[in-house]
C-alpha cells in the first residue's frame, strides 16, 4: 500500500511541479493586453509591430468575447490594457472606474457575404427574406448579430435565419464552405477570407458601425507602459496595421 501511495503522491507532486513552472513563466516586463476575440489575427500583427519599435517589452494577449473580458476584469484578472469590440461594454467598465479614459482604436463595417460561386444568386439584402435560401446571422446576443438585426430592421427586410451562430468566425466558416447561401459579417472577415467570399456592400446609412474602444485598466501595474501601447495603436504605424486587415480608422466614425 505504501508503494501505491508513494506512487500516487509522486504523480500529484509531478503535476503540481509542472503547473508551477507554467505559472511562473510571466515576468515583470510583461504587458497584459485583453482584446476582443474578433481582433485575433490583427492583434498578432499589432504586437509584432509594437515589439519591433519597443524592444524588451513582452506583450501577452488574452483573447475572449468582450463581455467575458469585462467580467474577467471585474473579477480582478491581471490586465493592463483592454481593447473591446463594442462601446456599451466599455461604458460599463468606465462606470465602475475599472478603466481610464477610453479612446476609439478602430471601426468596422458590415457586409453581406456569399460563397464565391454564389449558389443562391444573392444580389442584395432583400434576398435574405427568401425562404429557399440558407441564411446565417450571428446570434443577437453578440455584437455582429445585434448590428445585423439593426441593419435588417432599417432596411425593412424580414429575414428568417437558419442559424444564429455564436460568433462571427463560425458564421464565416459556414459561408466559405458553401453550407450557407449568405450571411452578414464584418468587412474585416472578408479581408481575411480572400477570394473565397463575394462581398456585397451594405448602405452605411442603415446602421452605426462597430467601434473598438481601448483603455488603460485602473488596477494594472504598469499604467505608463499601457498608455505607450495605446499610443502606438493610435499612431500612424498602428493604424496602418489595422487598415491592412480591413479596419476603418477610428476618426472616420468619431
Amino acid at each position: 500500500m505504501g508503494k501505491l501511495n508513494r506512487y500516487l503522491f509522486g504523480v500529484l507532486a509531478a503535476v503540481s511541479l509542472l503547473l508551477g513552472s507554467c505559472g511562473s513563466s510571466s515576468d515583470d516586463n510583461e504587458l497584459s493586453v485583453f482584446a476582443a476575440a474578433s481582433l485575433a489575427e490583427v492583434m498578432d500583427e499589432l504586437v509584432a509591430a509594437y515589439t519591433e519599435t519597443s524592444p524588451g517589452v513582452n506583450v501577452a494577449v488574452n483573447l475572449a468575447g468582450s463581455t467575458t473580458l469585462k467580467a474577467q476584469i471585474f473579477e480582478g484578472a491581471p490586465a493592463d490594457v483592454v481593447l473591446l469590440a463594442n462601446q456599451a461594454t466599455m461604458s460599463q467598465l468606465v462606470d465602475e472606474d475599472a478603466v481610464q479614459a477610453p479612446q476609439l482604436a478602430a471601426a468596422n463595417r458590415m457586409v453581406l457575404a456569399v460563397p464565391a460561386d454564389n449558389p443562391g444568386g444573392v444580389k442584395s439584402l432583400d434576398d435574405l427574406a427568401r425562404s429557399d435560401l440558407l441564411i446565417g446571422l450571428c446570434d443577437s446576443q453578440v455584437p455582429c448579430g445585434a448590428t445585423a438585426r439593426n441593419i435588417l430592421d432599417a432596411a425593412g427586410v424580414v429575414a428568417s435565419p437558419d442559424t444564429n451562430e455564436p460568433d462571427v468566425k463560425s458564421l464565416v466558416a459556414k459561408i466559405v464552405s458553401g453550407e450557407l447561401d449568405a450571411g452578414i459579417v464584418y468587412t474585416t472577415d472578408l479581408a481575411s477570407a480572400g477570394d473565397e467570399l463575394i462581398r456585397i456592400d451594405i448602405d452605411p446609412s442603415l446602421y452605426e458601425p462597430n467601434v473598438y474602444p481601448v483603455a488603460v485598466v485602473t488596477d494594472g501595474d504598469k499604467p505608463a507602459e499601457a498608455q505607450l501601447f495605446i499610443d502606438f495603436v493610435l499612431s500612424e504605424r498602428g493604424q496602418s496595421v489595422l487598415a491592412a486587415s480591413g479596419f476603418l480608422p477610428a476618426e472616420e466614425v468619431n
Binding site: 503522491f9 440558407l134 437558419d162 444564429n164 453550407e179
Partner: protein, 266 residues
C-alpha cells in the same frame, strides 16, 4: 467505513484522501452552480420560451440518437466481437474515435462528409434538394456520432466477457446464427445493452461542439439545452444557470433511476 468482502481492516487513509479529492473535483463545480442559482427567479427563468423549446428538442434528439445508436451500434459491437475479418482492429479504433476527437472536429468532419458541399452530402443535395445541416436531423446525426461509440464499447466488452458455450449449445441444437443472436446473445447481455444505451443517451444530451458546428443554432429547430446555455451565458447568465440546472436534474434523475433498476442487481 463499511467494506464489502476482500481484505479486512480500515480503508487506507491515503486512498480515502485521494478519493475525497477526486469526488471534490467532480462535485465542486456542481456546488458552484447551485450556489449561483437564482432560486427565487427560477420559475420565471424556466418559463422563457427559449428554455421550453430547447428542452423539448434536447429530449427528442437525445432519445432519437440513443435509439439509432442501439439499432446500429448493437450489430456493430457484435461484428467486432464475434467475427474475424481483415481490418477489424482498425475498424474498432475508428469506431471509438469520436470519444477522443474534440466534438467540434467531429462537427466539421460531418460537414465535409454530409454538408450540402460534402463528399456524400453534395450528390444527395443535388438529387433531392435535402441537406442535413441546420435541420433537426443534423442534430440527431451529430448526437449519434458522438454517442454511439459509448454504446458499442460497452456492448462489445460485455460480448467479449460472455460465456460462448450457451451460444454454441444453441447452435448445436439447430438455431441459426441470427436466432442465436436474438434469443441467446441479446438476453444474456441485456444489462450491458441498457448500460450502453444510458451512456449513449447521456452523452447525446450533453452534446455541444459537434451539434453547433454541424447543425448550427436556431431556437426551436437546432438549439438544444447545451447550445441554449452557451448563447445565454454572456448575455443572460441567470437563464444559463437555470438551463444548466435542468440538465443536471434530468441527468442525475435518469442515471439514479436506471442505476437502481438495472445495475444494483449485478
Amino acid at each position: 467505513m463499511a467494506e464489502l468482502g476482500g481484505p479486512k481492516g480500515p480503508a487506507p487513509k491515503g486512498l480515502i484522501a485521494l478519493a475525497v479529492l477526486g469526488a471534490a473535483v467532480i462535485l465542486l463545480p456542481i456546488v458552484g452552480l447551485l450556489a449561483r442559482t437564482p432560486w427565487s427567479r427560477l420559475g420565471e427563468l424556466l418559463g422563457k420560451p427559449i428554455v421550453g423549446d430547447a428542452l423539448r428538442l434536447s429530449l427528442i434528439t437525445s432519445f432519437a440518437a440513443a435509439g439509432i445508436s442501439l439499432c446500429l451500434g448493437l450489430p456493430l459491437a457484435w461484428i467486432l466481437s464475434r467475427t474475424r475479418f481483415w481490418g477489424r482492429s482498425l475498424l474498432r479504433a475508428f469506431v471509438t474515435l469520436p470519444m477522443v476527437l474534440p466534438p467540434v472536429v467531429g462537427g466539421a468532419a460531418l460537414l465535409f462528409a454530409l454538408g450540402r458541399r460534402g463528399v456524400v452530402g453534395e450528390p444527395i443535395y443535388d438529387l433531392t434538394g435535402f441537406a442535413l445541416p441546420f435541420s433537426v436531423w443534423g442534430v440527431i446525426l451529430a448526437n449519434t456520432f458522438v454517442a454511439m461509440p459509448f454504446l458499442v464499447l460497452t456492448i462489445e466488452a460485455a460480448l467479449n466477457n460472455t460465456d460462448h458455450r450457451q451460444e454454441a449449445a444453441a447452435a448445436t441444437l439447430g438455431a441459426s446464427r441470427l436466432a442465436v443472436f436474438n434469443r441467446v446473445t441479446v438476453p444474456m447481455i441485456r444489462p450491458s445493452i441498457l448500460a450502453g444505451l444510458v451512456l449513449a443517451w447521456a452523452r447525446a444530451l450533453g452534446e455541444f461542439g459537434a451539434t453547433i458546428t454541424f447543425a448550427g443554432n436556431l431556437s426551436g429547430r437546432t438549439q438544444t439545452l447545451p447550445l441554449a446555455v452557451f448563447v445565454s451565458l454572456e448575455a443572460d447568465r441567470d437563464a444559463a444557470i437555470a438551463i444548466s440546472l435542468i440538465l443536471v436534474v434530468i441527468s442525475v434523475a435518469v442515471l439514479l433511476i436506471l442505476r437502481n433498476r438495472w445495475w444494483s442487481t449485478q
